[in-house]
């Protein structure tokens, strides 16, 4: 390894150091070597937590809702990107509107999600005013539901501006030339979109979508406010355990933390791989 490589990796490791330390502590605590009630090395806790169905349900819920939300946000971003890809006035306005909610924090998105989507939220009230429902119970369950529909929709909305921003910059740098090449090669407008512009966008968008997936899967505030009680989303479950009044169960949180970090590590690897692949375009 050259000197610059060593320096680069060391610099990145400094940025990553809280995570690396956290991984270390979580591993120690998971195996009974640190934390309250550290009993000396034991695999019992890890075995118990990883053996519990609730753990895997939590993981599955967090991963699957994140996947769907990411896909929805990505589809919307590509759609808006394609529609507003020319520099006309209305296109620029569309782009501005798409990107404007970018700085909305998860906590605010979640609050809005609750106020809007709950069975007695604004949507339900509009439905009532329109005579479509008479009691909140007639409204479909979107908040705290097992499928996480409200959570998924809210986070798709929250992350859409980020993906839209990436889409706009992709289109600005290489979109138009590609599309024109396809058109003069004989593709009509629709075919050029379908066979060239959209596939190219997907490719460029994929690394950003991996990021979005990881962020959604790790979201605590929104999952806590919008997620179901069964299964508990992984971040909520982790925090619940961490604050468990029963101190013997507190250490379980560290096993869940390890799981979350492992998920992150997988995400990072995929991201790095996808980014390298996408940059070759």
């Amino acid at each position: 390894m050259t000197r610059s490589a060593a320096f680069g990796i060391a610099a990145a490791a400094i940025v990553a150091s809280p995570v690396l330390l956290g991984v270390g502590y979580s591993v120690l605590a998971s195996f009974g070597l640190a934390g309250v009630g550290a009993t000396g090395f034991t695999t019992a806790r890890v075995a118990r937590v990883l053996g519990a169905a609730a753990t895997w349900h939590a993981l599955w819920w967090s991963a699957s809702t994140a996947l769907v939300a990411t896909a929805l946000a990505g589809i919307a971003a590509v759609l808006v990107g394609v529609v507003a890809r020319r520099g006309r006035r209305i296109d620029r306005l569309t782009q501005l509107l798409s990107v404007l909610p970018l700085p909305i924090p998860h906590i605010v998105a979640a609050v809005v999600g609750v106020l809007l989507l709950a069975q007695s939220g604004l949507l339900a009230r509009l439905a009532y005013a329109a005579g479509m429902i008479h009691t909140p119970a007639q409204m479909p369950v979107l908040v705290a539901d097992r499928l996480g529909i409200g959570f998924t929709l809210t986070l798709a909305w929250k992350e859409f501006p980020f993906l839209a921003l990436v889409t706009f910059s992709l289109l600005a740098t290489r979109g138009v030339a590609m599309e024109e090449a396809a058109r003069t090669l004989g593709a009509d407008a629709w075919t050029a979109l379908r066979r060239v512009t959209v596939p190219m966008l997907w490719r460029g968008l994929l690394p950003a979508m991996v990021v979005v997936f990881i962020v959604i899967a790790g979201s605590y505030e929104a999952a806590t406010l919008l997620g179901p009680s069964n299964p508990l989303p992984l971040p909520t479950l982790t925090y619940d355990r961490y604050l468990d009044i029963d101190l013997t169960r507190r250490g379980d949180a560290y096993v869940l933390t390890m799981l979350g970090l492992a998920l992150a590590a997988v995400g990072v690897t995929i991201h790095e791989w996808v980014r390298a692949w996408s940059e070759r375009g």
Binding site: A11, A12, I107, L115, S219, T238, Y239, G260
Partner: protein, 266 residues
Amino acid sequence: MGNALSRGAVAFRVGLGAALLVSVAVPLLLLLVWSAGRAWFFPALVPSDFSGDAWALLGGSLGRAAATSTGIALVVGALSGALGFVVGRAIAQLRGWPRHVAAALAFLPIAAPSIALGTGAQYYFLRLGLGGSPLGVILAHTAPAAGLASLYFLGVFSVTDRRLEDEARTLGARPWQVLLRVTIPAFRRQIAEAIALGFLVSWSQVPLTLLVGGGLVRTLPLAVFSYIRAGQERYAAVGALLLIVPPMLVLGMAMVGTRRAAVIAA
């Protein structure tokens, strides 16, 4: 390809524009009404009564929380911008596997769920005497913010080369003169963007503040979170508006501004 749009396409565009407008305006309006609405129950479309008590807290605890958040986020923005600049630049020089390893490391703090990051690292923060202090919270927020800034600058420096700096060196500038007189001013827009990113990461952070700050550092999102968990939606709505309106204004102005700058430059 200046062909006119078909009627269906126009309808679609108008619909899409309306949907986007709704997606921006409805949350803002909803929060605005909630922030003053009293006794607003299903199926009422508007509150039956209004109260400014939550807004009054702007001069009190919500105002203080906003000030704390602003201060912390500014420092985090600056710190992470500086760190990301150095790290992103160092990574951009690498090729082959070291580049992948370094980029992955920089991405780790963003990817790690903040709950996991917080629980794992809380012990060390306390150990260093940083738990419950603004400094601790700042450092904790800096981890994901610097990761983001590093990746951002990696992108920036992967497409620009070092020609500016090389040339400045041969024109007689020492390394620090190059940094101060060339690199930083030449990349000031990117630096400002990275600081803004870091600011936003800190500005929206809940779990890390909760865990490392132990409640002693009361930031705006934390206030919103605890109000919402206490069912005090009016107060939560005021906090939420404080959280989103200023950054949205800045973003909007920046977007319109760069467009104007681009028009002037062209």
